[in-house]
């Protein structure tokens, strides 16, 4: 009797130990999963914040490009007496062109953007479009700096076309802009 009792007691102890171990394992697994999810959420939040920040930088930087275009147009269409200003603005545009590729190199996940996926799927064409823009800005800068009035008009037009050429392929049309949300 005492022998069988002792065996049962041992079995009980083993079962109890096993269940304790299983419980601990399960808890450990849960804890690891919980920690991992916290880490993933935190990493996503960090990445998303970085994406949002990068996107906002791009948008602000491109607004600066637009502002230069608008200011330069304002001088030309109203014949404002501001010698050297058109060349200066054109020079700023050529400088800005050198920032665009680096600013767009990282593909971001934010949805509040008008940047099209084609930027990253056709990076070479995007770089070529930027190069066209830079060359057009420099041509206008040269024409304006040398007061070559016959060349300024076509150069301005070519610059506007280079903006449009890039936006046509790489920026969402107004109808699809995130600003309409």
């Amino acid at each position: 009797m005492s022998g069988s009792h002792s065996i049962r007691t041992q079995e009980k102890a083993v079962r109890s130990t096993c269940s304790v171990l299983m419980l601990r394992g399960a808890r450990m697994t849960l804890l690891v999963c919980f920690m991992a999810s916290l880490f993933a959420v935190s990493a996503y939040a960090d990445g998303h914040e970085a994406d949002v920040a990068m996107t906002k930088y791009r948008q602000t930087m491109m607004s600066g490009v637009g502002a230069n275009m608008g200011a330069m147009s304002g001088i030309m269409k109203n014949s404002l007496n501001l010698p050297g200003h058109v060349a200066n603005h054109a020079g700023q545009l050529a400088e800005s062109a050198q920032l665009i590729a680096a600013a767009f190199r990282t593909k971001t996940t934010t949805t509040d953007t008008d940047a099209k996926a084609e930027i990253w799927t056709d990076w070479k064409s995007f770089e070529m479009a930027i190069a066209d823009f830079e060359a057009a800005a420099k041509t206008l800068q040269t024409a304006a700096a040398s007061d070559d009035s016959a060349a300024v008009g076509p150069a301005m037009r070519a610059l506007g076309k280079s903006c449009g050429g890039c936006h046509k392929t790489f920026r969402k049309p107004k109808e699809e802009s995130y600003k309409n949300k």
């Binding site: 490009v65 637009g66 608008g70 269409k77 301005m156 506007g160 076309k161 049309p173």
Partner: protein, 315 residues
């Protein structure tokens, strides 16, 4: 003259088939008379009206819908048609208006051309789909239409068959257009308004007839006619599925904050007051058309547009 003068950007590529015919006919003479005299003999009767024709051609936006830039890029065969034009009724394809004798309009007379532009009828009498804006072109004068045909016949002839529309019955059926015309089409008559300035009158002619601004910038009724109560107040169903903005002088929803200089500059360059560029069909009609108009025409357009009633219509 405008910043990008008309004559600085010659569009003509070569003589048409008709011209070649004339040239062949005079080859024998070439051995008999000095070349300059021959040039005069041939050129004088043919070139008359071409320059004026280019002027009105540019004022229509360079007939950009007839070149398939979106599908074939910058090297698309000019004016050879085949461009898909999306409408709420289906997809229609622009036609070949080069002087090709078989697939273009090379065998048309002045009367054929005027009838097409005024009445929307082919030389055989069939109705054109109103995606071709004869509703506006009907207001063009006879001399302008004759000159425009003259200019078109100077373009390079390109052989390209016209394509039927991808539209469901009854919108694919030309006979339906007779009913559409009965409902929606009254030929445009533009009479000079003596109470307004010469520039305003010229601007009205250009905006309403030649540049046919209302065809895109005015919303349409259920039957596809223009909703005159919202004249130039913008359309969500603009050309090729694009949104055509409100261009009335309404300050919040239109272009009421634009100055005359802003408008003239925009039509010359496609650059908006905020420095942004223009996309879509508008960028094409500026590039191939309006940007080459004389400054006086652009100022006339600006004067007229700024004087139309401001309509609140947010798209």
């Amino acid at each position: 003259m405008s910043l990008f003068a008309l004559h600085n950007r010659p569009l003509r590529r070569s003589r048409s088939g008709q011209r070649i015919g004339l040239g062949l006919g005079t080859n024998l003479l070439a051995n008999l008379v000095p070349s300059f005299a021959l040039t005069l003999l041939i050129a004088l009767p043919i070139v008359a009206g071409e320059k004026e024709g280019e002027h009105i051609f540019r004022a229509t936006g360079g007939c950009s819908c007839h070149t398939n830039y979106p599908g074939e890029g910058e090297t698309a065969p000019m004016l050879a048609g085949g461009r898909p034009l999306e409408t709420p009724f289906g997809v229609y394809y622009s036609t070949n208006i080069t002087p090709d004798l078989e697939t273009g309009i090379g065998d048309w007379s002045d009367a054929d051309f005027i009838r097409a532009m005024r009445e929307g009828l082919s030389p055989e009498g069939s109705h054109y789909f109103p995606v071709f804006p004869y509703t506006a072109f009907s207001g063009l004068t006879d001399p302008d239409l004759r000159d425009m045909r003259q200019y078109l016949t100077s373009m390079r002839a390109i052989r390209r068959e016209n394509r039927p529309p991808d539209a469901l019955f009854p919108f694919s059926w030309r006979a339906t257009i007779a009913g559409w015309k009965w409902l929606n089409f009254t030929p445009l008559v533009i009479e000079t308004n003596p109470k307004k300035s010469t520039a305003w009158n010229r601007g009205r002619y250009l905006v309403e007839a030649a540049a046919h601004c209302g065809e895109c910038h005015t919303p349409r009724t259920l039957s596809g006619g223009l909703n005159r109560f919202l004249w130039l107040a913008g359309s969500k169903d603009g050309p090729e599925g694009e949104r055509a903005p409100n261009i009335t002088p309404h300050k919040e929803t239109g272009i009421g904050t634009w100055t005359r200089a802003d408008l003239v500059w925009y039509l010359e360059t496609g650059i908006k007051p905020d420095g942004d560029d223009t996309q879509g069909l508008m960028s094409e009609v500026i590039e191939h058309g309006y940007s080459a108009l004389p400054r006086s025409d652009l100022e006339a357009i600006a004067e007229y547009i700024r004087a139309i009633p401001a309509i609140k219509n947010k798209l």
